[in-house]
Amino acid sequence: MATIGKTYRREISAAAALAALLVIVAIIAPSFFAPGNLRDLIVNNLPTLLIAIGMTLVILVGQIDISVGSQFAVCSVAAGVLAKTGLPMPLVFVAVMLIGGLMGALNGTLIGWMKLPSIIVTLAMLVMWRDALRWITEGAWVQGLPENFQWFGLGQSTGEIVIFMISLLLFAVFAWSLRNLIVGRTVYAVGSDAEAARLAGINSPNVVFWVFIIMGGLVGVSALLNAIRFSAIPGNSGVGLELKAIAAVVVGGAAITGGRGTLIGTLIGVALLGTIGTALTFLGINPFWEKAIQGAIILAALASDVALGRLEKNGRSDLAATTSPA
């Protein structure tokens, strides 16, 4: 039990923060917990969760991807355009995932195989995809979508359930695979120590390459599930999504340097950061504070991690000094 507490320390403290926030809201504004409101809150944050799942993998492997917001916009528009050609929705789904995967593969090739720094590569992609899209759409929205596009033609309540189920399934699959598949564990190994992974015979560039492809694929899914909630698709969606996702992953306990983190933590991080905005409204605080409070939470998460880590390290070295011969 003690080891569980230590291993998941960061996840537990993020969960505690979320619980504290919910308790405060429950006392001051119980109407927050009205089913309709909770439902809205969850559905609104599912696209972010999907991106954050991919971002967790990227960060675990020791990289970063700040191009996801622009990829998201490209995938959203692509979903609308493809649907308008009359392509059946399941095929649109697959096609958008492939488009995301291709953009991810480009990142993965440059970062994994050509060893370029991920922050620069994805910064370039952030600008490139966003402006290419602006140039092509000239800022216009995709309108006149077919009947079966919004909510997959199932109506809002069923559509919301479908979105929820797909997200839940993907979350479960990734959380389980990351822990229980050998390929999942190699993600941790590469992020923990790339050179040790090389010496252990792991093909690190290949792992990085595939992680970026998965990231792109998840962006595709996220973009589609987000787009079907509306009757038209803007050409500039997903602005700032990368920051939301990275923040959620970090708040959820992943080390930005790689090798440590869990998807449960990421889920808590998305929930915590997603709840704050709505909670503020219910608490009667000006929602303009949302971003500032989110920023403060990220800093607090990092600072507590560094402080706890230092404390632990000092305790350990003292211990080692007094009890060296076992």
């Binding site: 229980n180 598949l181 050998i182 999942g184 190994a189 923990s192 040790a196 252990a200 015979g201």
Partner: protein, 495 residues
């Protein structure tokens, strides 16, 4: 029976030979010691065997079959495992996971991790070597000897037939060493061939069957361990003629410029250091890697805080909390790793030369670029840096010229005490002679020089006195006239 053979291996880095025509043979069920001075090529030979580097020429044969393509993965799958001085565990992962990772398939279906099996297997392997370590512990929480044992367990788990142990006892207590030797003997009995690298010659008769001596990248000789004494081994390790002429001139020694009394730092791992350097004197520091030589230099220069003893400059006690304070006191340090610490590769030669003296180059009106240019031109001329323009990036220069730029940076600060850490490592012969000549000129101008070097002829040729470090302190000090290679190496090895 020959298990592994390295046949005429040659490997050079940037024109400097790390291995020259080295050959080595390991039998099944033997512990084969590999000894040599710093830089003799031991690490490179091991890296070649484990596929971490690819030799320029020569062959590696396992069971008489040539390994045509090599990489750490391939060599591992062939049963060659190495345990490096710095344990290569994944700090964030558990012991069980560290042992299992990279071992294909893990004996499971659909690439699924069987956690129970992993733990069970880790426990079995750890039990086999008598290590009481929980498979669920996070690797970062283990002590050095524990991490080493986990690595051995990992190698066993990969069915290693060849196991390389690089200085395994360097950080072990006596108990831990005894335990490790027990494990090694058991592995030997089961037919594993082990390459054992160690500077502790006295422990070799207890554990090694044969020994191969490396010197200057060449394999000098292989002996049955029982047939050689550690004295003979030292002679073989040194065995080099005092070749090359050093521009050593007698310089009248002045007042004591720099002095350490009982100087030490727990963090740096050095203790009880007494040392004096007079004006015009060149004092050498000899010792093996890990003896604390660079750590001593760093502590003097304010990179690591000292916690005992005093430091005196011209008889006055000084404290240095940061390199900038050392520079203000005219104490300079040329670091060991030229490319990482000595120069900023992407900056122009001129900026590199003035980097430690910017305080004197900038004023109310900002940087004085005219003065920077003058200084850079003066020093490149004085030290003979071969370059078409001082605005070229340092990365465009050869190793020797880079080192001259690194040295220029410290000469601009007008040092009274100059600490040189391996000043001629990896530089060509011509630049080396120029650096030695420059050292003599500085000594003649009254600079007190402290030179760390792994090259014994250089120490013997250039220094007035040589202090030998071992285990974080100065073991012995030799006068120029009394010092020999054998004596220095013996003292460095703790004899």
């Amino acid at each position: 029976m020959t298990l592994l053979k390295a046949d005429h291996i040659t490997k050079s880095y940037a024109g400097v030979h790390a291995l020259r025509d080295a050959s080595f043979e390991l039998r099944a069920g033997e512990v084969h010691a590999l000894v040599g001075e710093n830089g003799a090529g031991k690490s490179t030979l091991i890296k070649a065997l484990t596929g971490a580097v690819i030799p320029d020429s020569g062959e590696i044969l396992l069971d008489g079959t040539r390994i045509t393509e090599n990489s750490p993965g391939i060599s591992k799958s062939l049963g060659i495992a190495a345990i490096y001085q710095q344990p290569a565990l994944f700090p964030e992962l558990t012991v069980a996971e560290n042992i299992a990772i990279g071992q294909e398939r893990d004996g499971s279906v659909f690439g699924m991790v069987n956690w129970a099996r992993r733990k069970q297997r880790a426990k079995e392997l750890l039990d086999r070597i008598g290590a009481r370590i929980s498979p669920e512990q996070i690797a970062a929480e283990l002590s050095m000897p524990q991490q080493q044992l986990v690595e051995i367990a990992r190698a066993l788990g990969a069915n290693a037939r060849v196991l390389v142990l690089d200085e395994p006892t360097a950080s072990l207590s006596e108990d831990d060493t005894r335990n490790l030797f027990r494990v090694i003997r058991e592995l030997r009995a089961s037919g594993v061939g082990m390459i054992y690298i160690s500077h502790r010659l006295e422990e070799l008769p207890a554990i090694a069957d044969r020994v191969t001596v490396l010197r200057d990248g060449q394999t000098i000789d292989t002996h049955e361990m029982a047939d050689v004494s550690s004295k003979q081994l030292i002679q073989l390790m040194v065995g080099r003629e005092l070749s090359g002429v050093f521009p050593k001139r007698e310089v009248p020694r002045g007042e004591v410029v720099f002095e350490l009394r009982g100087f030490g730092s727990r963090e740096a791992g050095i203790r009880g250091i007494d040392l004096t350097i007079r004006a015009g004197e060149i004092v050498g520091i000899a010792g093996l890697v890990g003896a604390g030589r660079t750590e001593l230099a760093k502590t003097i220069f304010g990179l690591v805080p000292p916690d005992t003893g005093v430091m005196l400059l011209r008889g006055k006690q000084i404290t240095i909390g940061h390199p900038s304070e050392a520079i203000d006191l005219h104490i300079s340090y040329l670091p060991e790793d030229r490319r990482r610490h000595g120069v900023v590769l992407d900056l122009p030669i001129s900026s590199n030369i003035t980097l430690a003296s910017l305080k004197h180059l900038s004023g109310f009106k900002g940087m004085n670029f005219r003065k920077e240019k003058e200084i850079a031109a003066e020093y490149t001329r004085r030290l003979g840096v071969k370059t078409p323009a001082i605005y070229n990036a340092v990365s465009t220069l050869s190793g020797g010229n880079q080192q001259k730029v690194a040295l220029s940076r410290w000469l601009v600060t007008q040092p009274a005490v100059l600490i040189l850490d391996e000043p001629t490592q990896g530089v060509d012969v011509g630049s080396k002679a120029e650096i030695h000549e420059l050292m003599m000129e500085l000594a003649e101008q009254g600079v007190a020089i402290l030179m760390i070097s792994s090259e014994l002829p250089e120490l013997l040729g250039m220094c007035d006195r040589i202090a030998v470090m071992n285990g974080g302190t100065i073991a012995k000090v030799f006068d120029r006239t009394d010092a020999t290679q054998d004596l220095i190496l013996s003292a460095a090895l703790g004899h």
